[in-house]
Every structure is written in structure tokens, then in C-alpha cells.
Symmetry: C2
Subunit: 488 residues, 2 copies
């Protein structure tokens, strides 16, 4: 009967709806249980802790792979050769021998002031030493006989501070000068770790500034364009961060360019951080680097902040010692509180105090360092010339920025990644890829030639030459494993 | 005429309204201009930078005042005597002489691995050395002849890490284990700087746990009550932070108490940080301190994290070296990224590697250190007994927690502050006030007797005795300047 049919059908419908809901509820309950179990199991750190698990550099795992089986010309000639880390290993033994001088090494522990809490910006003596060093090597490099007293009149020790490496200073400056979510403009290509340095603690967003010619540096129009783009995305642009001499280009910005960039930033009430980490690694004898301290005639006001570190010019990134020079007293007070978490071990400050004042050592060391860098640089570019690989002629720094775009399987960043993989697998070489440095053009690589000895560099360049030859001969379509066995 | 009057009156009204608006507009414009000028002038740091200008300790300015004119028994006997800093200066020369041993001091710079980037948790050798030290002095202190190999079987070097002082480790643990705004429970009274350590970078909120008897430590009921109170305020309670031996009480929690607190935290899926910064400064020869590592039979799981540092037991807070022991691998990965900003200078790691393995030195030093602490402690309590000032009998640490409440002009924290001021002005003494340590009862003070030599401590106690006598004799109403001239 229709009513029965109807009723039975409606019962069936009701049943099926009920069982649908029941199943759904069981399913959702199960999902929630799984989720709960998963969360309980995985709640070993917080959500923001999770976010901190992301590697700070995209190529870090490849680098770690290199370290486990690295090349040694005698013991392990077929090992990996990392050319992706901007560290000067050509001078380690020069620095080491000076550090190991007994008076310096023991004096580090001989003063009772190194043991106890003190001003977290640095102990008085070591801060004087930084001021002296900056006055002598950054402000007036031509005045080699400048007295300690004169130097401290030019740069006041109360305006300088220590930080746990330049990374911590960049982070603490962003924490003190910008709000969370604010943008920091950086001329591109730039040092790959700036993204993480600005993001992790300070929550600031690095925004690349693209220029027509990055080697010359950003014009006010380039900066304005980048700022406008960032603002269109709702970002507040608070800081301009300039690296001069430039990493990864190895070029030096003309003083007028730096000045006009600062003037542009000032017109927008922005701060400028000038990172001069490679100031004393100028290897082209025909050029002179002019520090922003001199360009501005030491008139940094409240909005220009100068960073240097032992990491690059002294090849000692493991020391975690950076220096800040700023006339912004409130900024320095803020950094003092932040330095509770990132101060520099006081005995190390004492070691530095000794060394930075040791003119005899410093002048000899810097001269020697520049020669060694130049030697490796010239070795590197001679091979690049032979391979007809274009590069940005470098004047400073410990790297060269080369254009491998003609060798990519396609002109995209996935093409760049394929080329990187081939280099890693077949040639066991790793260079810093352009994408990680915010280059717009695929195929640009930073070669850190000073990270290895000249012998190992030579081996890397031979391997590079071979693989370039293979790609040119066989193209990517016909490159097979058999062709790639004799690279090492 | 009325209409005229009316019209003139309405014109007048219109005029006065217009001028009111004009004046208001000019006034508002002026205000805005002033505000703009003010902002421009003061916008030398960001808003969160502003917030960072707050001193991390409420009594820091008084302390800095002390430092500028501090007491010296021979040169400046009327100078200020700070007894508010928990630093052991009684042993500085013992540590210093060991650090200055030429092999140790120069070896710090002799290995090329100290110069370059490395695992930011610490170099392999130094991490092994921490593992050895923890196994030997925390886990099995009775096994004085434990071999290096055995020690590393108990505590794996991959589970230990360095941090730039305990402050940075506490901050980085909060960043990794909790979200911004989450609560961290701390048994009160507690180390005054924990508030800032948890707040500045991690944005976490320290919540005091009050117990019936703080010396015995918090029961699960005390913890639950504090957690419920925090939750009622909308806070999520994520971490329990225990300091054992306790600062400021100088007492040692029984192992069962620590165990039950951890079990309570586990029942709520919370993490427990156990700060054992004073573990090796137990000066009561009749008691043995048991580390949480032993209490838990080394089963820390993913949620118990152990902190120690050179700062207290080695009197070397200026070294900025803390150690973390945790079996939570993801936590350690997160800390590795955070340590980019707060790593420990690698040569210092090497120095530490040498010293922590030097059993002969360590055992001698620790014995000596305990004797010196005990000597000053007994000097201090003998005087307190004479003055009939109650105190918490201490077994460890480098301070004693005393009850000056009977001397306050009123039983409030402003009464405590008036007593502090009187001590500073008339007796030139500063002790850590209970309010800064989240005590509920006004008048409690931490006396850091190990921050000065026994001679200077004796001078401080004499001054204290005199001022206590004055207050008792004259009461606050009749205390006048004339009565207070002969304290120093």
C-alpha cells in the first residue's frame, strides 16, 4: 500500500539518515580521537616551536651532507666540496696564532670583571677598543698613527655595543625599531639568512628591492617602488638594510648611492641599518671602500645604525661577536635589555680588546688576508673566464657571483634547482643558489671560494669545468648517468 | 529691533560658534602638530622598543647607584654595599687561576673548528664534556671514578646543548614550548628576573604558585589551585618552572615533592623546566641534593628539561654559558634555530670542555667553594640571630631569606619600600626585596652574602645591626636624620 510503502520508505529514509549521522559522528569522533592522539603524541613543542623547525637556509641539508664526507686533497679527494658558506678559511691560522699568544689568551680570564654580571652592551675596556677600531679602520683609514685618545673623541665608546654575532644584532635592531609584521627593505640579491634573522624573533618581513643594475645599487626610485609595492600589500616599511660591500655581489656601492639611499629613508622617517661586514676584505687594490661613518661625516643621528662583526673579516663566525655603532641612546637601552639573551661572553670581549688595539698585528693581518683572498678570487675567475661563465667582477668579499643561466635545462627556478642537484650529485659541489638570495633571474650562484684552500678550490673548479663541458656537449636530454661518472 | 537683535544675536551666536570651531580647530591642529613633532622626535625606536626600556629588575637603579660608589674596607669604607645580586665572588680567584692555565686558555683558540660556523647547540667535544659533567655530578655524584665512556652512556651528548646563559635558555624554552600569552607557573617567592626572562622574547606570563610553606615546596594541590586561578583569567598554563635548590630560599625540595610536581604537570600535559643552578653550591654538609635527573631515573621523556649554568656554581655569570639537558629532539631542533641569536662563543666552549673534565680541579674547587659559602652564611646568620631577625635556614645557594617584617613602618609593600629606602640612604645597603620576588608577605629580603668578601659582609652586618637598633629604639615616627648619621 502506498501509505505503507511511503511509511516504510520514510522509515528507510529516516534509518539511512540516522545511520549516516551515526557513521558521521563515529567518523568525526574517531577523527577527533586520532587528532587528539596525534596532538598528545606530537605536542612535544608548541605551535610556534613547530614553526622554528624550518631550516633557516633552504640549502642547509645539502651543506650538512657535504660536511659528512668533505673533500680532502690527500685523504678524500672524491669528497664533497661546499662553496656555499661565506667564511674565510684562508686566514684561520693567522688569527689563531695571534689569539693563542699567551698574554692575550690568559688575560681573558685574569680580570675579575669578566666573571660577574656587567653592562650587557659590553665591558668598558672592550667597548673602547671597538670605538678605536672603528675610528681607525672605518672612519679615517688613512690616519694610521691616530692615537687612542683621538679615536675615542671621534667615536664614543658609549655609542658602541656588542651582540652575539651580526645575526643577533640585526634581529635585536628589528625588535627595537619596527613592530611585528613590519617590512625591512633589502637590495636584492641579498644574504640568504636575512629572511630568518628578521623573521624568527622580530617577526619582520624582508622585502627585496630589485634594481636595474644591482651591482651599482638601488636608486631612490628603486627603493620607492619597492616600498610602494610593500605598502600595497598592507605592510608598514620601517627599515632599510644595506650590505656594503655587497654580499653576494662582491661590489662596493659608491658613497653617493649610500647617501642618497639614507636620505630617501630619512624622507620617510625610516631607519637605515648599514651592514659593513666585509669592509676589511676589499681585495681589489685599486679601490678604496668608504664606510658610511665617513660618508655621513659621523653624523649618524638617531636613524643610521652600523654593524660589523669578527665573522667575515677575521674569519671567526664561531666566535659569535658582532658590533653595533649607533647614536640612538634609547635604541642602545633597548638592546641592553635584549642582550640579556644574546650578550658576548666577557672573556671573549677581553681577547678582542687586546687584538683590536694591536695595530701591528691588524695592519699586517689585513694586508695578508687581502692577498690571500685575491689569490683565490683570481684563480676562480680565471677558470670562469675559461668556461665562458659570466660573473660580477668583485672588488671585495670572499665570493664571486656567477651566471650559470646558459646551462640550465630551463630558465626557471626549478631549472636552477635541477642544475644544483646535478652539481651536488655528479660533481659533489654546492654553491649558494640565486633563488635563496632573492635574485629574479634563475641560474645565478654565489661561489664562496675562500671557504676552502686553494688546492681544494682548484679541484672544485676542475669538476665544475667538466660538468659544464658535459652539459654543453650532451644537453640535458642526453645527459645520462654514464656521461657523469668521470667528473670527480 | 527684535528681528535685528535676533539677527545680530544669531550672527553673534554664529560668530561665536564659528570662532569656537576655529579655536578648536587651531587647538586640535596645534595639538596634532605638537603630537607630530613629539612623535617625530621620539620615534627613534618602535613601540615594542619602548616597552623594552623598562628595567628588567625593579631595584636595578639602586644597584647601579651602589656600583658607582661601592664600599672598599680600606679605600672607601663608607661606600655602598650591594647584597642584592646572587653571584658568588668568594671563589672568583679559584676559577680564574684554573682558566688562566696556559694550556686551557690557548687551547681555546688552537682548534680550527672554533672559528667557523657549527652546530649552534654546541661543538661535539664540549657537548660530550657537559654530558660527562652532568652524569658525574648530577646523576651519580657518588661514583667519583665513573669513566668518560660510562658517563656518555648515561647522558647522551646529543641531548645536551649550550645557551647564552640560563636566561636565554629559559626564554628559548618558553618560545619553543608555549605560545605567546601562555602562563608559566613558578613556586613563589622566586628569582626576580624570571618575569622578564619569560616575557621579553617569549611573551609568556610568569604566574606565582603560593604554598602554605614555600620552604617545603608546592604540593599538587597548590599547583592545581594556581593553575585554576590562571585559567580563570583566561591564561593557558603550559609550563611549570621549578628552581631547586631554591632561589631565594636556599632550601632543597625533597625528591618526592619534585616527582609529584612533575607528575601533576604531566597529568595536565604540561612541560616542566627544572633549574638546578645552585646544585653544586650545597653548603650544609649534612644534606645531599638529589638532581631531578636521578629522581626520574634519567627518564625525562619529552616534557622535563634540565637547566644548569656556570653563572652560580662557578661564579661566572659574565661568561654567559648555560646548559640544557632534554630528550625532546624537536625541542632541541627548535633551540638550534634560536641559538643563532644566543649561541656560546666556541672558544669558550673549548675552555669549558677542558675544565668540566678536570676531575681533580672540580672536586677540589667544589669542596673549597662550599666551605667559603658556609663561612659567610654562618657569619650572616649569627648576626641575624643576634638581631633576632628570623630567616629561612638555608642548605644551599649563596643567600639567606630573612624576615624584616617586624621593622616595617606598616605591613604593606610600601612599608617594605620605605624600609628599603632607609637601608639604602642611611646604611648604604641594598638587599633584594620580597615584592620583586613575588612574596605575599611584606618585609622579606634576600641577602646575597657571597657577593662581597667576608670583611665587607661584616661591615654590612654591623650597619644593619645599627639601623635595626635605631628603628626599634625610636620607631618610625621619631626616626629623624640626626639619629641616622652614625650608621656608617
Amino acid at each position: 500500500m502506498p501509505p505503507d510503502r511511503n511509511s516504510s520508505s520514510s522509515i528507510a529514509t529516516a534509518n539511512s539518515i540516522a545511520s549516516f549521522f551515526a557513521v558521521t559522528l563515529v567518523y568525526l569522533g574517531h577523527q577527533k580521537w586520532i587528532q587528539h592522539r596525534w596532538r598528545r603524541k606530537h605536542q612535544d613543542i608548541s605551535e610556534r616551536g613547530e614553526a622554528l623547525l624550518t631550516p633557516t637556509l633552504p640549502y642547509i641539508y645539502d651543506y650538512l651532507k657535504c660536511l659528512q664526507d668533505h673533500c680532502d686533497p690527500y685523504i678524500n679527494p672524491r669528497g664533497y666540496i661546499p662553496l656555499c658558506v661565506s667564511e674565510n678559511k684562508l686566514i684561520t691560522e693567522l688569527v689563531g696564532l695571534r689569539m693563542m699568544q699567551i698574554e692575550t689568551a690568559t688575560r681573558a680570564f685574569s680580570d675579575s670583571s669578566v666573571y660577574c654580571y656587567n653592562n650587557s652592551l659590553g665591558l668598558p675596556g672592550p667597548r673602547e677598543s671597538i670605538a678605536y677600531f672603528l675610528a681607525k679602520h672605518f672612519m679615517y683609514p688613512e690616519r694610521k698613527d691616530m692615537s687612542f685618545r683621538d679615536a675615542l673623541n671621534f667615536i664614543r665608546p658609549e655609542h658602541v655595543a656588542f651582540g652575539s654575532g651580526a645575526a643577533s644584532l640585526v634581529s635585536n635592531l628589528a625588535l627595537s625599531l619596527a613592530e611585528e609584521g613590519d617590512a625591512v627593505l633589502i637590495p636584492a640579491p641579498y644574504y640568504a639568512a636575512f629572511d630568518a634573522d628578521l623573521k624568527i624573533m622580530a617577526g619582520c618581513i624582508a622585502v627585496p628591492v630589485h634594481s636595474t643594475n644591482p651591482s651599482i645599487g638601488p636608486t631612490p626610485a628603486d627603493l620607492e617602488y619597492a616600498a610602494t609595492l610593500a605598502e600595497a600589500k598592507g605592510l608598514r616599511v620601517r627599515i632599510l638594510l644595506i650590505t656594503n660591500p655587497n654580499n653576494p655581489l662582491g661590489t662596493i656601492y659608491p658613497p653617493e648611492l649610500v647617501k642618497s639611499a639614507i636620505e630617501w629613508a630619512r624622507s620617510r622617517s625610516m631607519h637605515t641599518i648599514v651592514d659593513e661586514l666585509y669592509a676589511l676584505s676589499v681585495h681589489d687594490q685599486n679601490v678604496v671602500f668608504e664606510s658610511v661613518i665617513r660618508t655621513l661625516n659621523n653624523d649618524l643621528r638617531n636613524d643610521v645604525h652600523h654593524i660589523w662583526a669578527l665573522s667575515k673579516d677575521f674569519g671567526a663566525s664561531g666566535f659569535r661577536i658582532g658590533t653595533l655603532y649607533s647614536k640612538n641612546q634609547r635604541l642602545l637601552s633597548s638592546i641592553a635589555n635584549l642582550n640579556i639573551f644574546s650578550g658576548v661572553s666577557q672573556p671573549m670581549q677581553f681577547v678582542l680588546q687586546d687584538i683590536l688595539k694591536d695595530d701591528h698585528f691588524i695592519y699586517g693581518f689585513l694586508k695578508n688576508s687581502r692577498h690571500r683572498i685575491r689569490y683565490s678570487y683570481e684563480m676562480c675567475i680565471a677558470r670562469l673566464d675559461e668556461m665562458v661563465i659570466p660573473y660580477v667582477p668583485a672588488k671585495a668579499g670572499i665570493f664571486v657571483y656567477a651566471d650559470f643561466s646558459s646551462l640550465l635545462p630551463e630558465q626557471t627556478f626549478s631549472g636552477e634547482a635541477r642544475f644544483s642537484s646535478l652539481l651536488l650529485d655528479a660533481a659533489r659541489i654546492i654553491m649558494t643558489p640565486g633563488q635563496a638570495q632573492h635574485d629574479r633571474k634563475p641560474g645565478m650562484f654565489r661561489i664562496c671560494y675562500a671557504f676552502v684552500s686553494p688546492e681544494v678550490l682548484e679541484m672544485a673548479l676542475v669538476r665544475l669545468d667538466r660538468i659544464v663541458g658535459k652539459i654543453r656537449r650532451w644537453h640535458w636530454d642526453n645527459l645520462n648517468a654514464a656521461e657523469l661518472t668521470d667528473i670527480l
